[in-house]
């Protein structure tokens, strides 16, 4: 059970650490301001506790598909909040107050979706074994692994920014968020809101979904060994949305650069 706690900690909470690394280095460096962090902590804690308390009732909503519907809405909201607030990567302009608020809301929703399932596990584990020692050890190891991995990512992304590799960081950000939003496909397929088509390919001979690499790639960019047509379509749509945002933001930035150059003349 100790190993299981570590595995579930990493599966459920590592995406939050990666998101925080990306946001604090590339997307919105000023979000790490202490007031914003406190606000984020309060909203997230409230959201996680409320979700945990009402989860059994949520599960019975809409004829038993409540959790999937609510999680889909939360993931989509988080996705659009973070997407709208990611212009800094392209323009380098300071984020507006609205964008800063959206970043906080986006991260909070992301934390609620991922952490509430982990709290259900902790509660279940405590109720069945009552072994605090194993839980604390599992949490400490899981936290250590997540912190070590995110420290490496943090310095890597900080180095990318230092070297002005903005396009590369934007691509990483795009792949990460597209991977996260594509998870709604399997959520909706398991309650039959979306049709479940046959897998387009099967790459499990190279990297299995259940392997360590499979799970890491799934967290980093939504890797699926045998993705369905619906998954690929949503992933591609997300990439397209990011491409459009990139083009719109870069043309605005280009126009502003020309205008400021003319102003100086």
């Amino acid at each position: 059970m100790l190993i299981n706690t570590v595995i579930l900690f990493i599966r459920d909470l590592l995406p939050i650490f990666i998101l925080f690394c990306l946001v604090s280095t590339c997307v919105s460096p000023n979000v790490t301001d202490i007031n914003k962090l406190l606000k984020l902590l309060k909203i997230s804690a409230f959201g996680v506790v409320a979700t945990y308390c009402f989860m059994p009732s949520m599960a019975e909503l809409f004829g038993g598909i409540g959790i999937e519907v609510i999680q889909t809405i939360e993931i989509l909201l988080a996705y659009f909040c973070l997407l709208f607030a990611s212009s800094y990567l392209i323009t380098g302009n300071q984020l507006t107050a609205l964008q800063s608020h959206l970043i906080v809301i986006g991260i909070a929703l992301f934390i609620v979706v991922n952490a509430s399932v982990f709290v259900v596990f902790l509660d279940s584990y405590m109720a069945s074994t009552g072994s605090m020692k194993n839980i604390m050890a599992g949490l400490a190891i899981g936290l250590g692994i997540c912190l070590s991995f995110s420290a490496l990512l943090y310095f890597l992304f900080a180095w990318f920014i230092k070297k002005e590799l903005y396009l590369l960081t934007y691509i990483i950000w795009t792949l990460f968020l597209s991977g996260q939003v594509s998870k709604i496909v399997s959520l909706l397929q398991q309650v039959d809101i979306l049709q479940n088509s046959v897998a387009l390919w099967d790459s499990s001979t190279f990297v299995k979904d259940s392997s360590e690499y499979g799970q890491l790639f799934n967290t980093l960019f939504g890797y699926e060994a045998s993705p369905s047509m619906e998954f690929i379509m949503l992933y591609a749509a997300s990439l397209l949305i990011f491409l459009c945002c990139f083009l719109i933001n870069s043309s605005t930035w280009f126009q502003q650069s020309i205008d400021s150059a003319k102003g100086k003349e």
Partner: protein, 102 residues
């Protein structure tokens, strides 16, 4: 919501029970190339998470509640699943067969 329930009225139903962290039956046969409704009754006093990499399904099973998951259409094969919170005890296989398994 009535439309949603009506649309799934004709889908074949299969049942699994979770008791003492063990799924029964441990081997469940379902028809190939057909969408089916899997109803899992968690009779334990604690929550469990139904998880399957093969089926790409993941759902929390709350205590003393029935949970529904749709799976398929699937090609004939064996698909493993497990309880994420007790992976050593709670394990099972869904066998997808061409023959009718009503």
């Amino acid at each position: 919501m009535a439309f949603y329930q009506q649309a799934h009225a004709k889908t074949k139903e299969f049942h699994l029970t979770l008791e003492n962290h063990v799924f029964t039956p441990s081997e469940l046969k379902i028809p190939a190339n057909e969408k089916v409704k899997l109803i899992i009754h968690n009779r334990d006093k604690v929550a469990e998470e139904f998880d399957s990499f093969d089926l790409n399904r993941e759902k929390v099973l709350f205590p003393d509640k029935k949970t529904t998951i749709f799976i398929g259409p699937l090609p004939p094969e064996k698909y493993e699943y497990f309880g994420e919170y007790n992976p050593n005890l709670a394990r099972g296989i869904i066998i997808v067969e061409v023959n009718d398994v009503n």
